[in-house]
């Protein structure tokens, strides 16, 4: 039984480095016994529940080098940006990235958005992370840095299981990279939870590239639908280059429902999650499709 005692009962040493370099040195020394804290919105409650008992806490909240959003052909988002900052950057006027905006807005709570960071949302590794599905549909890449060098990999290869990632103990996520999206692109995000401002029961992001009535491509990703945030590649392939009609959307939604791998434990029945996945894909697709058509 995980008991949230409201108390972090174990002792730990606290570091607040001022630069990426200092952070990497600390990680090199203490990585396997350390936890990085940014906003702490996930980590602190996990520590109170005894899920993590790190000997070292490395606080990266103050590192300005991690807080930027810049670039033209490749948009680079520093991992240390708080979610509110990212959300404001992608105001809904930014049609291509509407899904990311909506995913952050769905988290709802101002206090949380001011604290939580986009890097933290991904590095926490939760299959429910709200920003993961839209980023997956943008084919986002992430940059991981250590004293030994850096590597850039696709976000879809980052999560390795429930609450697990492929990140090494000495690595720091510094950046999320998004390629500029082609003309006619739009995206949408759908989320179901019991109540507003709640942890997701299931989420779905859809990004479409539209050319008149033709769907050039469609990318579909879901959260809390499998052990890791996932893409529904087979469903996507059903739409590539197709003239859109309601029957095709319906057929694709059934494929989305088939393709997910919902957990069989917990209080939401897997069949209900499949049902929701289909409904949410349809809703998300409809909205993205309309936005991409310039309001047609």
């Amino acid at each position: 039984m995980e008991m949230n005692t409201r108390i972090i009962s174990h002792e730990f040493e606290y570091f607040a480095p001022n630069s990426i370099q200092e952070t990497l040195i600390l990680l090199d020394q203490h990585g396997s016994e350390a936890k990085i804290i940014a906003g702490g919105t996930d980590l602190v409650s996990q520590m109170k529940m005894g899920k993590h008992t790190p000997a070292y806490i490395i606080d990266i909240k103050r590192i300005k080098e991690l807080q930027y959003i810049a670039g033209d052909m490749v948009l680079k988002i520093g991992a240390g940006n708080n979610l509110r900052g990212v959300m404001n950057f992608f105001l809904p006027a930014s049609v291509p990235y509407a899904g990311l905006y909506e995913s952050i807005r769905s988290i709802g709570k101002t206090q949380v958005l001011n604290m939580a960071t986009i890097g933290g949302n991904l590095c926490n590794g939760s299959p429910k992370a709200d920003t993961a599905p839209p980023l997956l549909t943008y084919d986002a890449r992430i940059k991981l840095v250590s004293l030994k060098g850096e590597r850039i990999l696709a976000l879809k290869d980052f999560h390795s299981g429930p609450n697990r990632t492929i990140m090494e103990a000495n690595e720091l996520m510094t950046e999320i990279q998004l390629d500029k999206l082609p003309k006619g692109t739009s995206s949408a995000f759908e989320k179901k939870a019991r109540v507003g401002a709640d942890i997701s029961k299931i989420t779905c992001a859809v990004t479409v590239v539209r050319d008149g009535d033709v769907c050039r491509s469609c990318r579909i990703a879901l959260g809390a639908a499998a052990p890791v945030p996932m893409r529904a590649f087979q469903a996507e392939s059903m739409l590539t280059g197709k003239i859109m009609n309601d029957a095709l959307t319906e057929e694709t939604s059934q494929q989305v429902a088939q393709e997910i791998n919902p957990p069989t434990v917990g209080r939401t029945h897997p069949e209900y999650r499949r049902h929701l996945a289909a409904v949410m894909f349809k809703d998300g697709f409809r909205r993205a499709w309309q936005q991409a058509g310039g309001g047609k």
Binding site: M1, N4, T5, I7, S9, R194, V195, A197, T268, H275
Partner: protein, 759 residues
């Protein structure tokens, strides 16, 4: 009383609103005493087990630990809020009965060390077979939660009014349906806490987050073996209770015990998980209702059966099953009723008083069935309610005395508020409206000798001091009492200071339960204020050469009725009083209990239950998304006859709270227990409705002036909670044509039902 009221009836912020908004109000967790220690409780990880041995030696040796106690250290005295149903030790002696049962306590110099020490206590258990469902627990051969309670039925009632069998024989229609109402948690924002201090003279003071300071004093006295005269219970600010704080808990007892034995102040604050698991919850109840009616739709007879899942201990068990049955007799005229209620032990968290106390579960069943009956008999749900309403002054089948009853008005006004005539049965698929009625006692009269006292002092400078035992837990009792006194004395609310709920200072009061505070403590305070006023008026009447009966006190002035310029200021009146060689301050005392008849138990003979009764109807409009099964409550129109509203702002607050509580129970909340383990004991996992689920709420006044309430007031607290949940579930029927017989109505249940309907 022919003059206009100037304080009573006004929308006034609570006396402590500013302090709470600024964060300066002092709750238990804000209190710090020199040398204070922090306590923590070790709880059972098993649902049912014998305690073979407890080894505390390692915990005692941990640096910073100042005390460790177990059940073997404490007197062999059980506690319980109902004297005849005491069944709980502050710490388990030989056996644990649910996951969360208290086994040991530690106090240390800080909470972290106390927490660490808990992990060092080694308990050897012998696990026993456990039972988790009341329908299993009553079977022959089921494990006994308490060895001396056969079939695990710890309290039962069989009460008949009239002749039910005969009336069913005369009925044209008979309907029988079964329902289930789930466990929900009160979840007051302030978790439970206690801080105790012992002084060398042998006096023990405890600050506790309690709704019942005087009952707590009695329970502490009998379990600690300390005379009540040496015990002082102080209630600081309390951040909500909803009935969960109507009880004693291990934290109260252990804080006192450590303080007495160590000589240092000790504080316990429960975690949110402990509040969910180790305090109280609304009883889950299996209900069946059989109703007989004539062709016109008048109820002739009702047979009601309830099995309440009480969890491991009694708490309020006998009261809960009794209330559940007696309040089937209002707001509808049920000439013949048979109520059978059973409180059944299981190895689960303990049921207790929760806003409405058994009545919401019964009302869910009755109000749902009434709608189903209306459908089967082709009657409008509003019409069947109006047709069966009781009325003021009519003979009552259970001999309740109903002096005022606005029920029919509440049905009509709630219907109007929700647009019933245009909407019921007429909205597109997925949208619907529904209503539910209810009624509630303003405290009790005949079930026990319960009374409140008050002292009012008026000083030379015009300042008023009120002493009342009433326990303000955030509902605004002190404000209401202040308004009543200010109105009676003709001063402003800002002239009144209320000192409350301190058993060492304030007069006796039973506490906040049964929705009786405004009527009972309000009447006591009013009597005390009248006594002060009479003394002052005697002097003023001489000065003004007018009869005492013709004087009016209002806005710091006293004048002759009808001639506002013939008068004097309160300040001059007090000067005259003092210079007339009358002793200051002027002190008035009052005490009040509801009129009773003998014998005072309604279990033996029919009679009146409460000084007066509130009546209400809530009407809901919902939208059901047939794709996802999600329900959105769009609007709730809440009409409540609470007599004269002392403070409409506070009544609206109660109504708003009731709508949220009703939404939670109807749509979202459920204490999920698997093999005795609560699976969702946190705000995150439990899933309360949030600000984002709030519907439009229309609070509708239905004022009656009740002869027994202070200024005509009746209750407006717990009663508001009985109708919202069934109103929502009734609206879901109107929206999608499906009758749900259990709560919560989750999206999954709705989708499943819609699919089955298609087949």
């Amino acid at each position: 009383m022919e003059r206009e009221l100037t304080v009573v009836g006004n929308r006034m912020p609570m006396l402590d609103a500013a302090a709470k908004a600024k964060g300066t109000a002092q709750f238990i967790d804000d209190l710090v005493l020199p040398g204070m220690l922090h306590g923590k409780i070790l709880r059972s990880p098993l649902p049912h087990a014998k305690i073979l041995h407890i080894d505390t030696s390692k915990a005692e040796k941990l640096s910073g630990v100042k005390g460790v106690m177990t059940g073997t250290d404490i007197p062999d005295r059980k506690y319980g809020i109902v004297p005849k149903a005491k069944d709980e030790y502050a710490l388990a002696k030989t056996k644990v009965r649910y996951i969360g049962d208290e086994v040991a306590a530690v106090c240390a110099v800080d909470p972290e060390i106390a927490e660490e020490a808990l992990e060092l206590i080694k308990v050897d258990y012998e696990e026993l077979p456990a039972v988790f469902d009341p329908m299993e627990a009553i079977k022959e051969g089921a494990p006994l939660v308490h060895a001396d309670v056969q079939k695990n039925i710890s309290a039962s009632i069989r009460k008949e009014f009239g002749d039910v069998e005969k009336a069913f024989g005369e009925s044209d229609f008979i309907f029988e349906d079964t329902f289930y109402s789930q466990a929900v948690n009160h979840a007051p924002l302030e978790p439970h806490g206690a801080l105790a201090q012992y002084d060398p003279k042998g006096e023990l003071t405890i600050w506790s987050s309690t709704q019942i300071p005087f009952f707590l004093r009695r329970n502490l006295s009998t379990t600690l073996l300390v005379p009540e005269s040496k015990l002082r219970v102080i209630k600081p600010k309390v951040g909500g209770g909803f009935g969960q704080k109507v009880d004693m808990f291990a934290k109260d007892f252990c804080a006192c015990w450590f303080a007495m034995n160590i000589g240092r102040p000790v504080k316990f604050i429960y975690d949110r998980e402990e509040v969910f698991i180790g305090t109280r919850q609304r009883h889950p109840v299996y209900l069946s209702v059989k109703t007989g009616l004539n062709k016109e739709g008048n109820i002739l007879a009702q047979q009601f059966k309830a099995y309440a899942d009480g969890g491991a201990y009694n708490s309020t068990a006998p009261v809960m099953i009794t209330l559940m049955g007696f309040f089937l007799m209002i707001p509808y005229k049920v000439p013949n009723l048979l109520h059978e209620g059973y409180h059944v032990y299981t190895n689960k968290p303990v049921g207790g008083a929760m806003r409405g106390h058994g009545i919401p579960q019964a009302r869910f069943a009755v109000e749902r069935q009434l709608d189903m009956i209306a459908e089967r008999m082709d009657l409008d749900p509003g019409e069947i309610r109006i047709r069966n309403s009781i009325h003021a002054g009519e003979p009552h089948p259970a001999k309740f005395v109903i002096n005022t009853c606005g029920f029919v008005d509440t049905v009509k006004k709630a219907a109007e508020g929700i647009g019933w005539a245009q909407k019921r049965g007429k909205l597109p698929f997925g949208r619907g409206v529904g209503m539910a009625g209810g009624s509630f006692p303003s405290g009790v009269s005949n079930m026990s000798h319960i009374s409140s006292g008050a002292v009012v002092q008026l000083g030379r400078e015009g300042a008023v001091n009120v002493l009342t035992g009433a326990a303000d837990i955030g509902q605004g009792a002190e404000t209401v009492i202040g308004q009543i006194v200010a109105e009676e004395l003709g001063v402003l609310l800002e002239d009144v200071r209320v000192t409350a709920a301190d058993t060492g200072i304030t007069p006796l009061d039973p506490g906040t339960f049964g929705s009786g505070v405004t009527v009972r403590a309000g009447n006591a305070a009013r009597l005390a204020a009248i006594s002060v006023k009479n003394k002052l008026f005697e002097i003023v009447s001489e000065k003004l050469e007018a009869s005492v009966d013709d004087l009016v006190a209002e806005k710091r002035k006293i004048y002759v009725k009808g001639s506002p310029d013939k008068g004097m200021t309160l300040s001059d009146a007090l000067k005259a009083y003092q210079y007339g060689d009358h002793p200051m301050p002027i002190v008035g005392r009052g005490s009040w209990m509801a009129p009773t008849t003998e014998p005072t138990t309604l279990l033996k003979e029919n009679g009146n239950f409460a000084p007066n009764y509130s009546f209400m109807t809530q009407a809901a409009e919902v939208e059901v998304d047939p794709q996802t099964g999600r329900v959105k409550l769009l609007k709730m129109a809440a009409a409540h006859d609470c007599g004269k509203m002392i403070n409409p702002l506070l009544v609206e607050g109660q109504l708003e709270g009731s709508v949220v509580g009703g939404m939670g129970q109807a749509l979202y909340e459920d204490v999920i227990v698997e093999k005795g383990q609560v699976m969702n004991p946190s705000f995150l996992d439990y899933g309360f409705p949030t600000a984002m689920e709030m519907p439009e709420i229309e609070a509708i006044e239905v004022e009656t002036i009740d002869p027994l309430g202070p200024f005509g007031a009746k209750e407006a607290g717990e009663g508001t909670q009985v109708s919202p949940a069934p109103a929502i579930v009734n609206a879901i029927y109107d929206a999608i044509g499906i009758d749900f017989m259990e709560m919560p109505v989750t999206p999954e249940k709705i989708l499943k039902a819609l699919e089955e309907k298609k087949k």
